[in-house]
Amino acid sequence: MNMKKNLEQKLYDLALKKTEYTQIIEKIGREPNDLELGLFGSLWSEHCGYQHSKPLLKKFKFSNDNILVDAGSQNAGAVDIGNGLAAVFKIESHNHPSAVEPVQGAATGIGGIVRDILAMGARPVALMNSLRFGDMSLKNDIHIFNGVIAGISEYGNCIGIPNVGGEIVFDESYNNNPLVNAFCLGIVKHDEIVEAKVGDVDNILILAGSRTGKDGIHGASGLASQTLEEESTSKSTVQVGDPFLEKLLIEACLEVIKEDGFVGLQDLGAAGLTSSVVEAAERSKKGVELNLDQIKLRDISMTPYEIMLSESQERMLVSCKPGNEKSIIEIFKKWDLEAYQIGKVINKPYINIYYKNELVADLPIAPLVECPTYTLNPVKPKTIKSNVQFNFDIKHFENHVAEFISNNNLSSRNSVFRRYDHQVQNNTVIIPGHSSAGIRVKETGDTLLLTTDGNSRYCSVDPYKGTLITVAESCRNISTLGGTPLAITNCLNFGNPENPEVYYQLDQATTALSEASKFFNAPVISGNVSLYNETNNGAIKPSPIISTLGILKNGTNITKSGFVNDNDIVYLLGIDNLELDLESLHGSEYENYFYKSVTGIPEIDLDKEKILQDTNRELINKGLINSANDCSDGGLLVTLLEKCFLGGKGFEFTINLNNNNLIPTLFGEVNSRIVISISSNNEKKLLNHLDQSILPYIKIGKVKSDDFIITQKFSLNLASMKDKWLNKLNHISN
C-alpha cells in the first residue's frame, strides 16, 4: 500500500467509514497500522461482516430435527438425508466480479462455492447457477451473458461435478449488473462433518494449493461493497481461476480429512487468508501466529498487506495437531500441490503476523469479527398504480403465442445447459430443464431434488409477498416431482442498503423468507447476501434467490415433466375453473413481455399451497401420475406447451374455453397450480383421492400424438414453435 495515501483515501479503498475508524481505535486502544487497517476493512465489509444484513438475517431462527449444522455456524449448513448421511449446500453470489470480468467472475464463483462445501468435509456432488442478465439490448450484456456461460462451462466441466442447471432470467434492471449466484451440494457422513476451526494451542496451520498472488485484493471490501459505477476500473480485483488445481484440491482435501491429527479445514474466499484465519481462530476461541515469509508467492514483491488480502483462488487452510503436518503435506504433494506450514495456534486470542522477523500486526481477534452493524428505518416505496390497458388481437394468435413462448425468459435453456457436464458422477436422474434436478444418492437409493427460484417481478411490486411466492414455488418444484422439501439456502441480491427503500425490500424479503421457511418446514441452513447491485440507472429489482433441497424416497420411478402417453387425461390441480380475469395478467410474464410493465399485487394462499403440494405428493406416491409440472411463469399455456415439447406430444382442451377471456385464461398467473397427466384407467382412483380433499381441481384436456388444439377455431403448429423455443438462447450466444 502506498504510504503516501492519506487516511481518507485508505478508508475509501477499504469502504470504511470515518466513524468505523474511530471505533477501531477505541477497540484496540491505538491507531492501527496500514496492514491492521486492511484486516479491519476487509472483515468489516458488507461481504464478510454483513454490516447491513446481519440484524435481518437473525430472523432465520427456525430449525428442526433434520438439521445437523445450523446456518452461520460453519461454511455451510447440513441436513440429514438418512443412513447416516448429510447433505451440505449453499448458494453464493459472484455478481460484481462477473460484471467486471464475466468469464473469470463466473468461473471463480463456482470455485469458491465448491471450496465452501469441501471445507465441511463433503464431496461436492452437484452444482447449479441462478443467473440474471440484462434485457440484451446492450452489447455489454451480450458480452456478459456469453462470458458467464463460458466461465461456468469451462470451470465446472473440468472439476468433475455435474452442473444440473438452475435458472436464467433476463430483465432490464440487470443491464450492466448481472446476478451470478452459484450453488453447490455436497454429501458427507454425519460423523465426518469437518469444522473450520484451528483447535488447540500449538496446532499447526498449513496453507495448501495455489500460490498467493496479487489478484483479488480488495475483492471483498471494495468490489462487493460498492456499487458498480465505482468499479469500472476494478479488473485487477477479479480473481483468476484454475479448475485443474481445484480438482486436485478436492481430492487431496478429502484424503487429508481422514488423516491422523487432522483438526480443521477452511477455504480461502473473500478477504483471503485474513478471514480464513481469523474466523477459524474465533471458532476455537484461540489466537494465531502467522509467518508471512513462509508463504509461497507468485510475485515476491508482494507486501504483507497484499499477502493477507489476496483472494488468489484454489487455496485451503488446514489445521492439524503438531507432529502430523508432515504426513498431511505429503498427501498434498501426492496430488502435485504445494502445501506448507504458515503458522500455529496460540493461546492469546490475537492474530500476530510476522514478516521478515518483525511483528507487523498484533490485533485481538474479537473486534475483528465484531463488525459494526447498521439497522436503518425502512421506507416503503410508493406503489405505482397500474395503467396497463390490455388489448388483445386474437387474429394473429398463433404468432402471438410463438413470439411469447420463444422470448428469452420462457424459451428452452437447453442451448446453455448442454454446455455444462450435467452427468458426471453417474447420479443425475433428472437432468436440467425440469421442475427440479435430481441427484441419486448411491448409498440410499433416494433422490435429492434441487431447485433455484427467484421472482423479481413479484418482488419489485411487493417484496414480502414476492418472497413468500418464491419460497412456495421453490417448494412446489420439489413437491411437483413427489419430493419433500428439506431445507433452504438463499442469496439475497439487492441494491444499496443505505437507501431506505432498498432496506425496506431487504427487511420485507427476510421476514417473508423466515415465515415461509417455517411454514414449509424447510429451515434456512445457509446463504449469502449481495448488496450494492446498482449502476447509474439505479438498483436492480429486489432478487432474493431461493434454493430448496428436497428428498424423494426410493426414487427409482421418476415422474416425467413432459406428457407421456397419447390419450392420457390432463388435470389442473389447485383451481376449479378456467375463467381467469384480467387481474391475473398483472405482474405476469405476459404483461412484462408485451407491455414492458409489471403491476398489480401478487397473491398467494399458503394453506392452499400446502394442500396442493401434499396432494400432488400423495398422488405420485400412489403411482397415479404420469407427468407433473408446476404452472408458474407464463401461465397455463406455457406449461402445456412445455409438456408437449418435452414429451414429444400434442394436447387438446376438452373443456370449452371462453373466447372473451382466452388471453387471461391461457397466460394469467395464479399461484398454487400443478398440471398433471394420468392414464385414463387411473382416473377413478384419482377422483376418489381428490374428492377426499378440499383441493380444487379441474379436468382440462387430453394428450394427443401431435397438434395443439385450443378451441375449434384455434390450433397451434407445434413443430415450428418448438424449433423457436428450443433455439432462442442459442441465437443470443452466437
Binding site: 473440468c158 468433475g160 437432468i431
Partner: protein, 234 residues
C-alpha cells in the same frame, strides 16, 4: 467363469474414474483397481480403461501432457501385448497423443462443450469391444466433451474404413448417418475407432454413463460385456 479384472488409470484431473468403477464393478460385478498415473505396475489386470476428464488440466492440448506420465510406458507395453485397452473421451485423446490410435481430436465444430444424448450405430460387431452387439445396432450413449471432433488424413481414413476399424458412428435413433446427427463435426461421423491389432478402442461417448436405466440407458454395458466375453473366452 473367469472374472475380468479392470484397471482404471487415474491422471491428475481425471473425473470419470469413479463412474467407470461404478459401471464395471458395482453394476457388472467385475473386479477393478485404480492405477495412479505414477505407478508402473499394472497389477495383473485383464483390461485397461483410460477414463474421461481433463488430465493435467488439458491446458496444452487434450492428452498431450498425460502421454508423458510414468504409467504410459506400461500402457503401451500392455497394448502391444494384445490385451484390451479402452480410452473414453480424454482417454481417447490420450491414446491418439500416444500414437496408439491414429488421428486427432479437434475442438468441436460448434466451438462449445457438448453434454448431450447421442446415438451410435455399431459398424463392426465382431470386435473385442462390440461382440455383444447386433450388426448395426443403435446404442444410446451420451457425449460430454469440448474437443471430440475426430480428424484423420485420407490415407488413415481409407485404412480405417477399409479394415472395419470404425466401431461406432454418430447416427439418428433409427441409424441414419448424416450431418444432422453429428454433434461435434467428426469426419465420417466417427465416434469410436480401434487400432490395427483391434485390441485398443478409443471413443468419445461415455459408455460408463449409460449403465443403469435410471440414468437413461443401459447400452454402455454392451461394450463392457463384450470385453468381459472376449476375456473369459480367451
Amino acid at each position: 467363469m473367469k472374472k475380468t479384472k479392470f484397471g482404471i488409470v487415474v491422471f491428475p484431473g481425471t473425473w470419470s474414474d469413479q463412474d467407470c468403477y461404478h459401471a464395471v464393478s458395482t453394476i457388472l460385478g467385475n473386479q477393478s483397481v485404480f492405477l495412479w498415473h505414477k505407478e508402473t505396475d499394472l497389477k495383473d489386470i485383464d483390461c485397461l480403461i483410460l477414463p474421461g476428464g481433463f488430465s493435467y488440466g488439458d491446458y496444452l492440448r487434450p492428452g498431450a501432457i498425460a502421454r508423458f506420465s510414468p504409467i504410459m510406458n506400461e500402457i503401451i507395453k500392455f497394448a502391444n501385448s494384445g490385451k484390451p485397452v479402452i480410452g473414453i473421451c480424454n482417454g481417447f485423446q490420450i491414446l491418439c497423443e500416444a500414437n496408439l490410435l491414429p488421428g486427432i481430436l479437434l475442438p468441436n465444430n460448434v466451438l462449445e462443450f457438448r453434454c448431450a444424448k447421442t446415438h451410435l450405430r455399431v459398424e463392426n460387431n465382431v470386435s473385442t469391444f462390440s461382440n455383444e452387439c447386433n450388426s448395426n445396432q443403435i446404442l444410446n450413449i451420451p457425449i460430454s466433451h469440448g474437443e471430440g471432433n475426430y480428424y484423420a488424413n485420407n490415407d488413415t481414413l481409407e485404412e480405417l474404413e477399409g479394415n472395419d476399424r470404425i466401431l461406432f458412428r454418430y447416427s439418428s435413433e433409427s441409424g441414419d448417418i448424416s450431418k444432422n446427427y453429428n454433434p461435434n463435426g467428426s469426419i465420417n461421423n466417427i465416434a469410436g475407432i480401434i487400432n490395427k491389432n483391434k485390441n485398443v478402442l478409443g471413443m468419445m461417448p461415455h459408455p460408463e454413463r449409460s449403465c443403469e436405466s435410471i440414468l437413461g440407458s443401459t447400452d454402455g454395458n454392451y461394450i463392457f460385456k463384450s470385453i468381459m466375453k472376449s476375456i473369459t473366452q480367451s
